[in-house]
């Protein structure tokens, strides 16, 4: 998978592919290839989302653990 790919670009490409497929502007010749690409993009996006989620949860957990000390301190 491209190392320089961002979630944004991946999502944009995915959207483009999705629309192409929906509009049947994709040739059967490349249809499978497009679907394959889309699945890769989805995978990439999910991975990205998962890691962002994990990171954010970590940060929020950090904030929450400090919060009670405010109310008591």
């Amino acid at each position: 998978m491209a190392t320089k790919m961002t979630y944004e670009s991946a999502f944009a490409e995915l959207k483009e592919i999705s629309e192409e497929i929906e509009n049947e502007s994709v040739s059967v010749d490349v249809l499978a290839a497009k679907v394959k690409r889309a699945s890769e993009l989805i995978e990439f996006c999910k991975t990205r989302l998962r890691s962002a989620e994990k990171e954010i949860n970590q940060i929020i957990k950090g904030m929450d653990s400090k919060q009670p000390s405010d109310n008591e301190g």
Partner: protein, 485 residues
């Protein structure tokens, strides 16, 4: 007016004086004896000696004041009560200058001469007369001093009354008799005031009895006038108690002087009945000198009271002001404290809200992305397979359609070909000949037109499978086919 005429009778024989006076006496007794007359006159040269009151009764011309008549009169011991009664009723001392209505008898005495004996005095006449005089004086005051005296709404207003009293009265000019009891009362009252006020007083001594038209008193006022800056007020007092002459206080010159005087004049004349003209012109008047003194003390007292009130109000207000300031300070102070707590609490609250917003929204942003992704994935899964299915259908249609069409086409072509088979079967010459048609040949050539055929020509006729050779015997026009096709 009654004029006593005396008739002297002359005789030949000189008479002794006593004979003559005896005759006069007898004659007068004959004429006037036992007779009483009411006479109007003015009293002058009033005096008393050994219980007898002596006086001159006079009559003056009203305009010029010229003496028109004068006669001695007296009141004996037994008539004294008449004077007392008079003075009681009129409030006016019986004395010089007053006009009286008296009941008299004419008496002649060999030694003392002609005299009138007064038996009765009518006080009501004098009262009326005094009142009349007063009215004249007041009218004159108004007429001759329009700038200083006015009569308005039933009372007199004078320039002296318009003067403003100083806040504190302390320098007093006193116009009084040196020996007046009223002066003593006045001075005593002032000096013994309970508040410890000190006054400076200067006496301008004047006669208050037998002062003709108050002339001397007016002179005192003039003296004071020259030193007017030295005094706060002028006090005109007269001894209380004993009957005194009030006429001077109704006199024009003194009244005028008071009305125009530049320093407030206080009157304390101790009179009992009518208020004098001087009282009316003065800044203020009291019944007695003591009351005047009290009024002065009261005036000063009210000033002190005002000062004390101001002092109290200043103290109270200053303290109130301070406590208000303190109150305001503490309000501000607690406002600052509570405002701070509010700001801090609000800030904390907003922070907390923002913090939970960030956490909530970041989660929802991610979950939205998940949703979008799975929607994309779903579409990806469904659509291509449908597409392929459809394509397969399309291809399937071709695989059925193309052969079917081809076969249909072939069948059609076959039909066409069969058509030609039929056509050519019908058109073949054998078929035509077999139906009774014959071929005509001339010179080996088939003719279709009879134009070149002549009689005697040899024609070959081909009928069926046989050849018939003939010679033309005749040629004519045919009637045509019976069965015209």
């Amino acid at each position: 007016m009654l004029i006593l005429a005396l008739k002297i009778t002359m005789s030949e024989q000189p008479l002794s004086l006593s004979q003559l006076t005896g005759m006069i006496k007898a004659s007068l007794r004959d004429r006037f004896g036992g007779q009483y007359y009411y006479v109007v006159a003015e009293v002058s040269n009033f005096s008393a000696r050994k219980g007898v009151q002596y006086m001159q009764l006079i009559e003056k011309e009203e305009e010029s004041g010229k003496l028109m008549a004068e006669i001695s009169a007296m009141i004996f011991q037994d008539g004294i009560h008449e004077i007392e009664e008079f003075e009681k009723i009129t409030g006016q001392a019986f004395g010089n200058g007053i006009k009286v209505l008296v009941q008299v008898s004419v008496v002649f005495h060999e030694v003392y001469g002609l005299k009138l004996t007064i038996h009765r005095i009518d006080p009501s006449f004098t009262i009326g007369e005094l009142r009349r005089q007063r009215e004249i004086t007041l009218r004159r005051l108004c007429e001759e001093n329009p700038d200083a005296v006015k009569f308005l709404h039933n009372r007199y207003y004078t320039r002296n009354q318009t003067l403003v009293l100083p806040a504190v009265i302390s320098r007093i000019a006193i116009v009084s008799s040196e020996f007046s009891a009223g002066l003593q009362d006045f001075v005593h009252t002032l000096e013994n005031n309970p508040f410890g006020y000190r006054f400076s007083m200067q006496l301008f001594s004047t006669k208050v009895q037998n002062d003709d038209q108050g002339r001397q008193t007016v002179e005192r006022f003039i003296e004071i006038y020259h030193r007017k800056d030295e005094f706060d007020i002028v006090v005109l007092v007269r001894g209380g108690g004993s009957q005194t002459d009030l006429l001077m206080f109704d006199a024009y010159p003194l009244a005028r002087a008071i009305a125009r005087f530049p320093i407030p004049v206080f009157c304390g004349l101790g009179h009992l009945k009518d208020i004098s003209v001087a009282d009316l012109m003065a800044h203020s008047s009291e019944k007695t000198p003591t009351r005047v003194a009290e009024k002065i003390i009261e005036h000063n007292r009210s000033f002190e009271q005002a000062v004390l009130e101001l002092r109290n109000s200043i103290i109270i207000k200053a303290q109130q002001f301070l406590s208000e300031q303190k109150e305001e300070l503490s309000v501000l102070s607690s406002g600052v404290t509570s405002g701070c707590n509010l700001i801090l609490a609000e800030s904390r609250d907003v922070l907390f809200r923002l913090s939970s917003l960030v956490s909530k929204n970041s989660h929802s942003a991610i979950s939205r992305q998940y949703t979008l992704l799975s929607a994309a994935a779903g579409r990806m899964a469904a659509k291509p397979l449908i597409r392929i299915e459809r394509e397969l259908n399309a291809i399937g249609n071709f695989s059925k359609g193309i052969p079917a069409e081809s076969l249909k086409f072939l069948k059609q072509q076959k039909g066409l070909t069969e058509h030609y088979v039929t056509v050519f079967k019908l058109l073949s010459p054998e078929r035509t000949l077999s139906r009774g048609f014959a071929l005509v040949r001339k010179g080996g050539k088939i003719i279709t037109d009879a134009a070149g055929v002549r009689k005697g020509d040899e024609l070959d006729i081909l009928l069926g499978k046989d050849l018939i050779q003939t010679k033309v015997s005749n040629k004519s026009k045919s009637d045509g086919y019976k069965n015209d096709l």
